[in-house]
């Protein structure tokens, strides 16, 4: 076969070109550390790598979810622990107050402390995590329990309809009337014992003499004929600005439809693919003993009322009721603890899965450095040899020897 210069040239260029593009590829792999630069490098591996990438991001997000859930549950747990301590103290006070050796005045003092305990309990029930009430279920912007205060006797209060009122004008002495909330005309419930004051036109009325209060039900038993009045705001028969009905009461938070919020609503976190776990304890779970139906807030208010009235039997039954409240808190605590455990185990698994998937992903996508470098060196050698051979072959022709 005839060999011509063009042939040599063509094959030389073809070979050099191919080797050079090999070198270029390997250089790219070495520079980026990645084996796969574009889908056509290895279509199947690239498709798999993309799927793994999505998985990895998912694991990272689940980890965030788990950690956030743990923080939430830890806040819940801390609040419940403090609750437990407060309840211990309440129990001690109940035992102390049930003793015959202390007098009524001391019981009043004990009620002062009980009132503070109750207020602290309310504060704990209204615990927040990142601005959200943890015991409110889904209604995280509404506190499970809120204070409604009936305040002084200014005209402003009257115009704002903030003042509580009752109507005893049509009843007989010794009967019971309901106190209403001037704000929305609902019956007042859960008055905090020891905060009730009643004054009309500078005459102070004395609890136990002129009237009796049922703090839980928010009712008034009229004992003095001076109190047979209608103090409903807007009633022209009576000058409202003369009435002073002052107390703090507790009311559960209400949603936009007006129903109490503490009984329902779950907050969940996704901790694994399609596995969501509840992380919240509702206020009801915390305060109500499932077996006896006994409510912690009711217990504390009843205890306070019995202290005020020095009701011996009542104080003694408070000890038992506090024990029920213990049960409720312990149940909630163990529920929370179990969830924390579950989250922690999942966190460990999540981290393992993440590590394994990262390894798998790296195997698919990352260049094997040692292998790539040795390939690179090999190709470089071939390329050098091709260059050398070509340059030697292309130079001489007969012209050089004539």
């Amino acid at each position: 076969m005839r060999i011509t210069m063009n042939q040599l040239n063509r094959s030389m260029q073809y070979v050099l070109n191919n080797r050079y593009s090999d070198l270029c590829n390997l250089q790219e792999q070495l520079a980026t550390g990645k084996r796969l630069m574009r889908p056509s490098d290895d279509p199947v591996d690239v498709a798999n790598a993309l799927k793994l990438e999505t998985k990895l991001r998912e694991y990272q997000q689940f980890k965030k979810n788990i950690n956030d859930g743990l923080a939430f549950m830890n806040v819940t747990g801390t609040a419940m622990e403090s609750m437990n301590t407060l309840l211990q103290r309440a129990r001690e006070l109940a035992i102390q107050a049930s003793s015959d050796t202390i007098g009524d005045t001391e019981r009043q003092y004990i009620n002062k402390e009980t009132e503070q305990l109750l207020r602290q309990m309310v504060a704990l029930i209204d615990t927040k995590y990142k601005g959200d009430y943890v015991f409110s279920g889904n209604q995280t912007k509404i506190p499970p329990l809120q204070y409604i205060s009936s305040v002084s006797n200014t005209v402003e209060d009257y115009t704002n309809y903030r003042m509580a009122y009752f109507d005893s004008s049509a009843v007989a002495l010794g009967s019971t009337v309901q106190i209403f909330n001037g704000f929305d005309d609902t019956p007042v419930k859960n008055i905090i014992p020891g905060t009730f004051e009643l004054q009309i036109a500078d005459t102070s009325f004395v609890e136990g003499v002129d009237y009796e209060v049922d703090y839980l039900a928010g009712t008034l038993t009229i004992l003095s004929p001076d109190l047979l009045l209608d103090v409903t705001p807007g009633t022209p028969a009576y000058d409202i600005s003369q009435v002073k009905l002052k107390f703090d009461s507790l009311s559960p938070g209400k949603d936009i439809y007006g129903s109490p919020i503490s009984s329902w609503g779950t907050i969940e976190r996704t901790i694994e693919s399609s596995i969501t776990m509840q992380i919240n304890i509702t206020a009801d779970e915390l305060t109500t003993d499932f077996n006896s139906g006994n409510n912690l807030i009711d217990t504390m208010i009843r205890f306070g009322q019995n202290l005020l009235r020095s009701d011996h039997a009542g104080i003694e039954s408070a000890i038992e009721e506090i024990d029920y409240a213990f049960n409720a808190i312990l149940a909630a605590q163990s529920k929370n603890g179990a969830r924390i455990n579950r989250f922690e185990t999942t966190l460990v698994r999540n981290e393992n899965q993440f590590t394994e998937t990262t390894a798998l992903q790296s195997e698919l996508v990352d260049a094997e450095m040692a292998e790539t470098i040795s390939k690179f060196l090999l190709t470089e050698n071939i390329y050098n040899a091709a260059l050398k051979a070509s340059s030697r072959l292309i130079q001489p022709s007969l012209v050089n020897y004539l």
Binding site: I3, M5, P39, S40, A49, G137, I267
Partner: protein, 559 residues
Amino acid sequence: MSLLSVLNVGTRAIFASQLAMDVAGQNISNADVEGYSRKRLNLQPDYRFDSAYGQIGMGVDVINIERLRNEFIDEQIRRQNQQVGYYEELDYTLESIENIFTEPSDTGVIHFVDQFFDSWQNLSNNPSDISARTMVRTNAEILIDVFHNVSGELANLRQTRNEEIQQQVNKINEICKELHNLNLEIGTVELNNQNANDSRDRRDLLLKDLSKIIDISVVENETGQITITTSGNIIVSPVYYQELETTTATTKLSDGTSIMEIGVRFADSKNIYKPQGGLIKGLFESRDKIIPEYQKQLDTLANSLVTKVNELHSRGYNLKGFTGINFFDPNLTGSSKIQLSASILSDVNNIAAASGGESHPASQNLLSAGSHDFGSTPVQLYRDPLALPLIEARNILTGTVIVSTGSATLVEGSDYHIDYVNGTIQMLHSGYDGDDLQIDFNYRSGGFAGPGDNSTALAIANLRSELTMNNDIHGNGTSSFAEYYSSMIGRLGLSRNEADSNLRTRIFLVNQYETHQDAIAGVSLDEEMADLIKFQHTFQAAARLVSIADEMLDTLLNM
């Protein structure tokens, strides 16, 4: 035999070796010219018949200057070159698409889809948090931008294919015109039995260029002129050539927009040109099949994302307890157009992270006969009027209420009024007093679950791993967004691989054939140098012959 004839023999030898030097010189100077074929001077001995000795040499005779080329190899090159053109175009388009999708990297579409769902997860952890809500919107906007960008690039690529078709048609026309001229030239020259070697070289080169662009078959007639047909239509004949021309047509895209696209037809016959091979075929295939395929898949991905997210989002509740809000604008479909809905754009609080209760159907028969006439006072509706205790049906869903008397259907607003929140019906006039009313409606139990509820956000976040794409015969999805996308990228890689390896094979084949042709038609400098020396010596010897003959004549004349 005379001395004069010896002189004559010498002169012819001098002339022949001069011509041979010319040919070698031409070969040497064109050694690097593309398409140049080696020329060879064909010589033969001349003779006369002598009665005494028989044939007697009369010196050397120049037959012709021959072009050394294997035209069969040229045809093979043309056939493969057409495939090179075709696969080169496919490879280019697929490579461009690979570059547009930039996978695998952290700037590809799926990365931002992931990020979008991550932000929903994040929102589900902090459903009432404004910054988590803003994150969702920002990531959605980024995702929309990426979709717009990728689809814009694809549309742009498609447009450049149109421009390329236009350019290639111009090029074809130029080549055909020149081929036609060469045809005429070769015909004229070769009619006189002379060679048209250089015109033929030029023609072969043009044919090779043309074969890369379109599929051609070439037939040569006895006068050396060629007829070229492409897809059954003659574009160049010995007497005629036909141009291609472009037409424009409007094509509707899958996202509803239309673009101007170019078609090709024969200028004289007005037949539509359907290329069977070459670069042009690749261009049409890229424009009409490959690019639209990826545009369509991207649109499908974007549209299902919009539909699925909206489906969940519109059932969810925003921070203020409103429902029925779309996250994406439901009227804008296609990856180039998708957009957030106006309510999400205006306020992140409209992102529905919470869910509401479920919708239940209910019906009630109000007996108005006799003393039950309810006149114009509102009447409470119940979830189930037969089950005790009665539960009020609050939160009635708008658009679900049908009130009829059995024969007539009443009109809301003029006949009755519904209090959707409290679930009461009130008659507005006495026209139906005494009639029994059948009331069908849907009510929602539960209602807005509250700002802390994250169930809608969670449901949307979970879309990431849900099987939402590629429905089977039952309408159930068989792959997730990520799976759909990665299999699309996988297919892209495979197609590119296929085009690339086909291209390599064809280039290799063309290279092989050209090497073959080079062996025949290529100029070897060594050979030419050797020839030069040879003809130099011939020239010297012939000159010597003339001078010796001259001396001999001298001797004779001086006798």
